[in-house]
C-alpha cells in the first residue's frame, strides 16, 4: 500500500519536473517547482527520513520559492528566447543527456531500498544505531550523527550557508552613492495583513526556537529552526516594509551574527584542542561544564552547536532575501 502511494508521488514529481521546465511563464514555473519540492518532502516522509523532509519543506518548498519570486520581482518573468539561436539549448541538452546517462549507469550499483546486506548498512549504520544513544544520550539518531559524529560535515555546511549569503550580498550590493531611480519606499498600509502577521510572527519564532532546542528528541535542528526563524523575519519584511525590519535586524548586524554563528560552531569544537583532545571531540567539555559526565557533555555540546547553526542560517536566509528583493539597495521590497 505504502509502495503504491510512493509510486504515485514519484510519477507526480516527474510530471511536475517536466511541467516546470515546459512552462514559459517563470512565475508559474516557480510555483510548480514549490509543489515539486513539497511532493519530494512527502516522499521522504514516507521513507521515514523525517528530518530531511522537514528541511525540504522549510527550505525547498518555503524559503527558496520566496527567493525565486524575489528574483523575478527584479528581473523579468518571461523567458527571453531567440528561436534562431539554438546553440545554448543544444549545448545544455547534450550536457543534460550526458549527465543523465552517467547517473543511470551508476544506478545499478546502488543498494536496493532497505537492503540489510548492503555495505553501508552493515558497517557504519550498525555502529551508529547501536552506540549513538549509549555514547551521547540523544534519542534522535539523525541529530547525533549530524552534530557529533559527522560534525566536520555540518561545520562546513554552515560555512557554505555563510559563504552563500556573503557572495550574494557582495555581488548585489550597491554602494548607495548612485541616485535612486524612484523612491517608492512606501509602507504597506494594509491593516489586515499587518495585524495577521503581527499575530503569527511570535508563534512562528517560538516554533523555530522549539525546533532548534528540541532537535535532540524530535525531528528538527539548527538548519530547520534557523530557516523558520529567517522565514518569520521575511514575513515581517513583506507585511510591513523593509525599513521596519531593518530596525529589528540591520544589515550590518545580520552579517555580524552570521559570522558569530560560524564562530560558535568552530569555537566550540576548538576548545577541546586546548584540553588535549582532538578537534570537535565534545567529550572534553566535561571538564568545563559543571555537573556533566562525558556523555552529557556531548549532548549539551550538540545543543550549543545547533544554536550556532541556527543563528547562521537565520541570518543567511534573511540576508539573501533582503539582497535579492531590493536588488542590493536595501531600501524597498515586495
Amino acid at each position: 500500500m505504502l509502495l503504491g502511494i510512493e509510486t504515485l508521488l514519484l510519477i507526480l514529481v516527474l510530471i511536475l519536473a517536466v511541467v516546470s521546465l515546459w512552462i514559459r511563464d517563470l512565475m508559474s514555473s516557480v510555483v510548480v517547482f514549490g509543489a515539486y519540492s513539497f511532493l519530494m518532502c512527502l516522499i521522504w516522509t514516507g521513507m521515514g527520513a523525517v528530518d530531511v523532509a522537514f528541511t525540504e519543506a522549510a527550505v525547498g518548498a518555503g524559503v527558496s520559492t520566496v527567493f525565486f519570486v524575489a528574483v523575478l520581482f527584479n528581473t523579468t518573468r518571461r523567458i527571453q528566447f531567440n528561436p534562431l539561436d539554438l546553440s545554448a539549448k543544444i549545448f545544455s541538452a547534450i550536457l543534460c543527456i550526458g549527465t543523465g546517462y552517467l547517473l543511470m549507469l551508476g544506478l545499478s550499483d546502488l543498494p536496493s531500498w532497505g537492503d540489510p546486506q548492503a555495505l553501508v548498512n552493515t558497517n557504519v549504520s550498525k555502529y551508529y544505531i547501536e552506540s549513538a544513544y549509549k555514547q551521547t544520550k540523544v534519542p534522535n539518531l539523525v541529530t547525533a550523527v549530524l552534530a557529533d559524529y559527522r560534525a566536520f560535515d555540518t561545520m562546513f555546511e554552515t560555512c557554505v550557508v555563510f559563504i552563500a549569503v556573503l557572495g550574494i550580498f557582495m555581488l548585489l550590493k550597491k554602494d548607495g552613492r548612485e541616485p535612486l531611480k524612484e523612491t517608492s519606499a512606501k509602507a504597506n498600509d494594509n491593516l489586515i495583513i499587518r495585524v495577521a502577521s503581527r499575530f503569527m510572527v511570535p508563534f512562528i519564532q517560538l516554533f523555530g526556537l522549539y525546533v532548534v532546542a528540541h532537535g535532540h528528541y524530535s525531528p528538527g535542528g539548527g538548519f530547520q529552526g534557523g530557516v523558520i526563524l529567517g522565514a518569520s523575519l521575511i514575513l515581517v519584511a513583506m507585511a510591513f516594509n523593509i525599513e521596519f525590519v531593518k530596525q529589528l535586524l540591520s544589515i550590518k548586524r545580520m552579517l555580524l551574527l552570521a559570522v558569530i554563528g560560524v564562530i560558535i560552531f568552530a569555537g566550540w569544537g576548538l576548545v577541546p584542542v586546548f584540553l588535549g583532545q582532538s578537534f570537535l571531540d565534545y567529550s572534553a567539555w566535561a571538564a568545563l561544564l559543571p555537573g556533566t559526565g562525558e556523555i552529557m557533555a556531548r549532548s549539551h555540546s550538540m545543543l550549543a552547536v545547533e544554536i550556532g547553526v541556527a543563528i547562521t542560517v537565520m541570518c543567511g536566509m534573511y540576508g539573501i532575501y533582503m539582497s535579492l528583493v531590493s536588488d542590493g539597495r536595501f531600501d524597498k521590497g515586495l
Binding site: 494594509n190 489586515i192 495583513i193 495577521a196 502577521s197 499575530f199 503569527m200 508563534f203
Partner: protein, 136 residues
C-alpha cells in the same frame, strides 16, 4: 483557541469514560461527518478554481473552500487520534492539541493570504468578470 482546546479535552474525556455503544457511535459519526464534509469542500474548491471565470471568483472559491476543508479534515484527524488511543496519556492529548494549533494557524493565515492576493489583483487593475449573457 482556548475554546477548541477545551472542546478536545471534553471529547477525549467523553470518548474514554463512556463506553456505551450509542455514545461511541455518535463520536464515530462526528469524525466521519467532518472528514467527509472536508473532502466534499476540498472537491468543491478544486471544481471552483477550475470552473470559475476570472481571478477574483477563483480566489473566492480557493480562499473559502480551502480554509474550511483543511480545518475540517485536521479536526477529524485530531478527534480520531483521541478516539483511537487505547489509554489517554499525555502524548495523545499533546498531539491532538498540536493539530488544533495548526488549525488556528490556517484559520488566520489562509484568509489573510487570499486577501493579500485579491488586493494585489485589485491594485494591478485586473478586469473583473461581468455576465454579458444576461445583459444582452
Amino acid at each position: 483557541m482556548a475554546i477548541n482546546v477545551l472542546a478536545v479535552i471534553l471529547f477525549a474525556i467523553i470518548s474514554q469514560t463512556i463506553h456505551h455503544p450509542t455514545v461511541q457511535l455518535i463520536l464515530n459519526i462526528l469524525i466521519m461527518a467532518s472528514l467527509g464534509l472536508g473532502l466534499f469542500f476540498f472537491f468543491a474548491t478544486s471544481v471552483g478554481v477550475l470552473r470559475f471565470p476570472d481571478f477574483f471568483t477563483r480566489l473566492h472559491a480557493a480562499g473559502k473552500g480551502d480554509t474550511l476543508s483543511t480545518i475540517l479534515i485536521l479536526l477529524a484527524c485530531s478527534l480520531f487520534s483521541l478516539k483511537s488511543a487505547k489509554t489517554l496519556d499525555q502524548t495523545t492529548i499533546l498531539a491532538a492539541i498540536k493539530i488544533l494549533l495548526i488549525i488556528n494557524f490556517i484559520f488566520i493565515g489562509s484568509p489573510t493570504a487570499t486577501h493579500a492576493l485579491i488586493e494585489a489583483g485589485y491594485n494591478s487593475e485586473i478586469d473583473p468578470w461581468e455576465n454579458n449573457a444576461t445583459r444582452n
